[in-house]
């Protein structure tokens, strides 16, 4: 097991070295650590697995998927701590495109942010959608699962053109198949029904315009009812906050956070 992981590590590092040798354009591949588990929430093997998945999707989008956990009870705003972490990271790695999931286990805050190109490809709306999916796992304590899901879901969403809702039902293949089958059945059913000739008389065919008329007409107001209800609020997993902003170092980002 340990041997296996070592082999994987070696392989990955050699791949990274090869990529870094190719030049500064695929800079994301130059990064060799993406998981900063300061709060010790993940096991060694979970970190290795997460690093592998993050590396794979980072290459795909030219955007690094980063994870930062902390257990700071004094923290007031997770955005600020996250911003500080990112400023340092970006300067150290000379890298501006990233998706960063930050988590403070002490305050039970989680914050997902998109920097650089990811600010557009993972905008606030998409961040919310990702959070919707990972919060239940976070609440169960399955942090590895939640982090894995963050990479795959964000990566999936980032394939969509910026601005569109990736969870729109029209993008679902099952929905497209259902519409296609319904339309096929509907049209062929209509053709079958009409194969023996259609009724082409209408209510006006035998209508006598000259002698059909309304002789008396009444529209009497009777009563009125008014019902009130609150404008429904979007319910998050324990209150949402954020919506993007700027780090202390002046890097702007899209993002959103929740309590879990």
């Amino acid at each position: 097991m340990v041997r296996d992981i070592q082999v994987k590590w070696l392989l990955m590092i050699s791949i990274l070295l090869v990529f870094s040798g190719l030049g500064g354009f695929t800079v994301s591949a130059a990064v060799d650590q993406r998981v900063y588990d300061n709060a010790d929430l993940l096991s060694e093997s979970e970190i290795a697995e997460l690093e592998a998945v993050a590396a794979e999707h980072s290459r795909k989008h030219g955007t690094d998927f980063l994870f930062w956990t902390t257990a700071d009870e004094q923290s007031l705003y997770i955005q600020d701590d996250m911003g500080d972490f990112y400023d340092t990271w970006a300067e150290e790695n000379n890298q501006e495109n990233a998706v960063l999931l930050s988590m403070n286990i002490a305050t039970r805050d989680v914050y997902l942010a998109g920097f650089g190109t990811a600010e557009r490809t993972l905008d606030n709306q998409r961040v919310d959608l990702v959070l919707d999916r990972i919060i239940p796992e976070m609440q169960r304590g399955d942090y590895a699962g939640a982090f894995h899901e963050t990479v795959t879901t964000s990566s999936r969403y980032m394939e969509f053109r910026p601005g569109v809702n990736p969870e729109n039902i029209f993008f679902k293949t099952w929905f497209q198949v259902a519409i296609a089958l319904l339309l096929g059945a509907g049209i062929v059913g209509f053709m079958l029904y009409n194969s023996g000739g259609r009724v082409t008389t209408t209510p006006t065919t035998y209508f006598d315009d000259d002698h059909t008329k309304v002789t008396s007409k009444l529209d009497q107001f009777r009563n009125k009812t008014i019902s009130r209800r609150k404008v429904p609020k979007k319910s998050g997993g324990g209150g949402g906050f954020g919506g993007g902003g700027s780090t202390g170092g002046g890097r702007s980002f899209s993002g959103g956070g929740r309590k879990f």
Partner: protein, 342 residues
């Protein structure tokens, strides 16, 4: 009494020509106006044993008919004959729409129709297995209907708006009442027992501008029948036919509401006039895969009705084609909008 129309030129038996609307002679080509056809050339013959047997004036053969037949051909010499006592008195039609589609045109129109059959088997679409085509005047009753309707309804008008963080929904209730006079003209119902009601209903509408006062020569050369049901017997069918029309008129008079629910609807209809009328129908008997299929064609407009055979293969092909192309189109759209195929 048997009636035959003799050509003033050559004495051959004349028949109605759908193209010109005249009586025409098949041997010398002479055409005569129906209104001015010389009385002397109308051959009327009384049979002593009438109501049982009719005899062809040409050849003397017994004309074999069913009890409803009013116009036919002599089965022996082929001469067009009319059986006049089945067309007079109570049985005299008031109106007729003459054939405007000749047999050749009917065959062509039928073949064109079979070619357009998208779900019919390939062998059927060639339309070349017509076994028999019969031009037939089918008896109909046309009803002029008048009536009244008195309806009451509870209607609502709903509007909603937002003030602050509250959504208000205002519903105004109205008592609605409408009284109206109704009139429908010349609503047809077929009075022949043999004819399938659904088939005959689908043949409508006919163009009433060509509705003519009945004259016997229109029938010469075609088959015709007398009615099996009188106008009283068919009135209930007419009522069920016009109720949806009336309902749609009623709802057109109640407009501008979000919802309308009728609390009381009283509709009374009476027949004002009835006209015993003959409508032209081509009956097409078609052989396909050892089965005879019957179709009917409106002899005035050329509309074809009847149950054609259905090819399961073509049904499946259309279904697959439509479903697959819809799916492809949706994929293309989702790619264009979202930039993602899967």
């Amino acid at each position: 009494m048997v009636i035959q129309y003799k050509c003033p030129n050559c004495g051959a038996d004349m028949s109605f020509d759908s193209e010109s609307g005249h009586l025409s002679c098949p041997s010398c080509g002479r055409q005569d106006e129906i209104e001015t056809f010389p009385e002397t050339n109308i051959l009327r013959k009384f049979d002593p044993g009438e109501a049982k047997e009719y005899h062809c004036e040409n050849c003397g053969a017994v004309i074999l008919t069913e009890a409803e037949t009013t116009a036919t051909h002599c089965s022996f010499c082929g001469a067009p004959v009319l059986i006049a006592d089945r067309l007079s008195g109570d049985l005299a039609p008031a109106k007729v729409i003459p054939f405007t589609i000749s047999k050749e045109e009917a065959v062509a129109a039928f073949q064109k129709w079979t070619k357009n059959g998208r779900l019919t088997p390939r062998g059927f679409t060639s339309g070349d297995r017509i076994k028999k085509m019969t031009g037939m005047y089918v008896p109909f009753w046309l009803y002029d209907i008048d009536g009244t309707a008195d309806v009451a309804a509870l209607a609502t008008r709903v509007r909603s708006y937002t003030r602050g963080d509250t959504i208000y929904t205002e519903t105004d209730f109205y008592d609605v009442r409408r009284q109206m006079d109704l009139s429908y003209l010349k609503v047809p119902a077929d009075a022949s027992e043999k004819m399938d009601d659904e088939l005959m209903d689908k043949l409508e509408p006919y163009n009433y501008e060509e509705l003519k006062d009945f004259r016997m020569p229109y029938l010469a050369g075609y088959l015709a029948e007398k009615y099996d049901y009188d106008d009283e017997a068919l009135f209930s069918r007419i009522e069920s036919k016009i109720v949806p029309y009336i309902d749609s008129y009623i709802s057109s008079t109640v407009s501008g509401y979000s919802t309308v629910s009728y609390t009381n609807k009283q509709i009374q209809t009476n027949k004002k006039n009835v006209y015993y009328t003959l409508f032209p129908v081509w009956m097409v008997y078609y052989d396909f895969e050892n089965k005879e299929h019957t179709f009917a064609m409106n002899g005035q407009t050329g509309k074809v009705v009847g149950k054609p055979p259905i090819s399961p293969f073509k049904v499946a092909a259309w279904f697959t084609g439509i479903a697959a192309s819809t799916f492809a189109v949706m994929k293309v759209i989702s790619f264009a909008v979202g930039g993602v195929l899967w």
